[in-house]
Symmetry: C2
Subunit: 410 residues, 2 copies
Amino acid sequence: MYNCDKARLQNKIDTFSKFGDTGTGGITRLSLSEPALQARAEFKKRCEDLGMEFKTDDMGNMYTVHKGEEDLPAIVMGSHLDSVVNGGNFDGVLGVLTALEVAETIVSEKIKTRGPIAVMVWTNEEGSRFDPAMMSSGVVTGKFDKATMLNSKDKEGTAFGEALKASGYAGAEKNRLNADDYAGYFELHIEQGPVLEAEAKDIGVVEGVVGMINYEIDVKGVSDHAGTTPQKTRKDALYAASKIIIDLWEKLGKINPELVFTMGRINASPNIHTVIPKEVRFTLDARHKDPKIIERAAEVIKALPAEVAKCQVSYRQLWGRKTIEFNKDYVAAVQRAADGFGYSSRKIYSGAGHDAQYVADVMPATMIFVPSVNGHSHCVEEFTPTEAALKGANVLLNAVLEIDKNYRGR
Amino acid sequence: MYNCDKARLQNKIDTFSKFGDTGTGGITRLSLSEPALQARAEFKKRCEDLGMEFKTDDMGNMYTVHKGEEDLPAIVMGSHLDSVVNGGNFDGVLGVLTALEVAETIVSEKIKTRGPIAVMVWTNEEGSRFDPAMMSSGVVTGKFDKATMLNSKDKEGTAFGEALKASGYAGAEKNRLNADDYAGYFELHIEQGPVLEAEAKDIGVVEGVVGMINYEIDVKGVSDHAGTTPQKTRKDALYAASKIIIDLWEKLGKINPELVFTMGRINASPNIHTVIPKEVRFTLDARHKDPKIIERAAEVIKALPAEVAKCQVSYRQLWGRKTIEFNKDYVAAVQRAADGFGYSSRKIYSGAGHDAQYVADVMPATMIFVPSVNGHSHCVEEFTPTEAALKGANVLLNAVLEIDKNYRGR
């Protein structure tokens, strides 16, 4: 079993934590922003220092390749460098840095591989600056229309296409990740949840990404003056929405202990302290790996009464996805690598979406999770100790080497 | 009993409805905006056409005076011409137009008054462009600091003081409403509630403005990923806030049938559909004429548990006011005028705040309410038929004439 180097990995984490440092323990590194370009330049420099070939595709995705002994499709490891606003130093970037550390280990240890080993970085995974999330893996795997994505604008009105052009990272469409040039994909990521830490597991062997539904629930009341409208005649949309939220928690909570559901966004109108809310909209996100459980959650939403507390209730599905299953051989390679090191592990499904789920549609793919301290993610408290990240890097290295040895081939 | 003229009043309503017309049945006429300046110019022109003297004070409040036979302090009628965004054609402006109609009736009918009869327009009553509401009556009656108000900025960063200077309506501080030059104040206003209409009353004889409290309740949870955090470990601030809202409705609803309370504003953070809300803040406004009832409402808030659904709960009072009682002689004059015409009426307290409540601290003051169809206000559906407004104008005219006859004097 080959080992990655902890000091080198620490250096990578420390270096990249400076790009977009908010001074509060985290980063804001929106896609194609100045800090993101600094991170890209550092990534490119480090790849070239390792003697790896560097190129980009037409979505600004970056690829760097260490040649193998045979002319075979590459095994690629990747993730993203962009973050949410006030995000942490691990979501996405750790997948890039461990992949880089794996490549550096292969180069420095002169490990022979049959085929090429590649590292890639996806552009705009978070979707925090340019909607939607997983934009570039979506385009590359045919989920999203490229022209529409190029026109996606940030808050200042800058289009993704303009920012991409200005960045200098726009490359050729032929360089995109594809099933001819690449054999399969690995993505290491922090769990972004508390399960591995709670169960004291080193490694999450990710079997897939859970299916989800996202609804918007609309509650319509009547706006009147807070001081002059008797309580009994009111149609208060926030009161009705609160009743619905409590009711949904109770009903959804009974379906399955592993069903997760979130009312994450709520907007009241006119949202003035002296005016009765006339309309409240809130979102409901529900996730589970079993489509039957998701269906039961959807049934709860569809069974909402049309009227609650004299307000009109309606709903619409914003989006959804089916459960994605990762490639069984790749999952098994991760499991064997973890077992080989004697690391504790558990099978797990990802609740969050990742570029890997789109890649899984076009080639073998899987993910490796490492623990998130306190389960935090998308916040400055996001943390994974370097020892824990190193175990993930070691598993990544050895799983890649096993695939390279046994499963390569078109 | 003298009568105002319906056709003239209709003409006034129709004319002023054009200034800031949104094309949807209402107006947006923010203080000192272009439409508000058009309304001011029309007001000034109409006053001068009646031969009335026109002046402004240092807050841009406009005053116009019809001289009486003796050198006595003036009886002044007033309200405001500014509106909320997408407001209606009656809140505020109807008080100005009925006052103008009263003055026009006095002039055209050559009604002799002992003292001067004045009409005034308050600047920025709504506070929709420049915070706070009732800004200029607050300054004139010593509630607010003028320098602070001049520095209040709109969304574009324009200070109230700049807009006032640019308007050309800034006048001398000595012209402010004061207890030497003015004997007392009347303000006609739409009820902004459903009580008069529901009870088929023509006139609301307003006895005062109810006391109120306004709190902000803060609920702190922990933000984590919607897809990866098991339900049982969550600290979801929106779930907790919903429970608190339902609980407050239940407890406040039991205190007194005339207590009104509103959670009008709610803001969740980060307010993203895939993230568990880490903080929810909402406001609670409660109003009643009896300070003991208000105190009981405050006790319910103060008894909120420090922890709800694993989230931390805190509260702070944003503001409050005591119940304002209007001058009994002025209230009685309104009642007699209504009775004299055979109009149906009821005693009522204002739930909303009005400039009159500040004026009441420095001189005798009262208000007259006319019905609001369906109780709507601060919306384009706001409506009061001209017949109903005319009854209010007639009551205003005759109440002013009675005070002029019997109660004048320093």
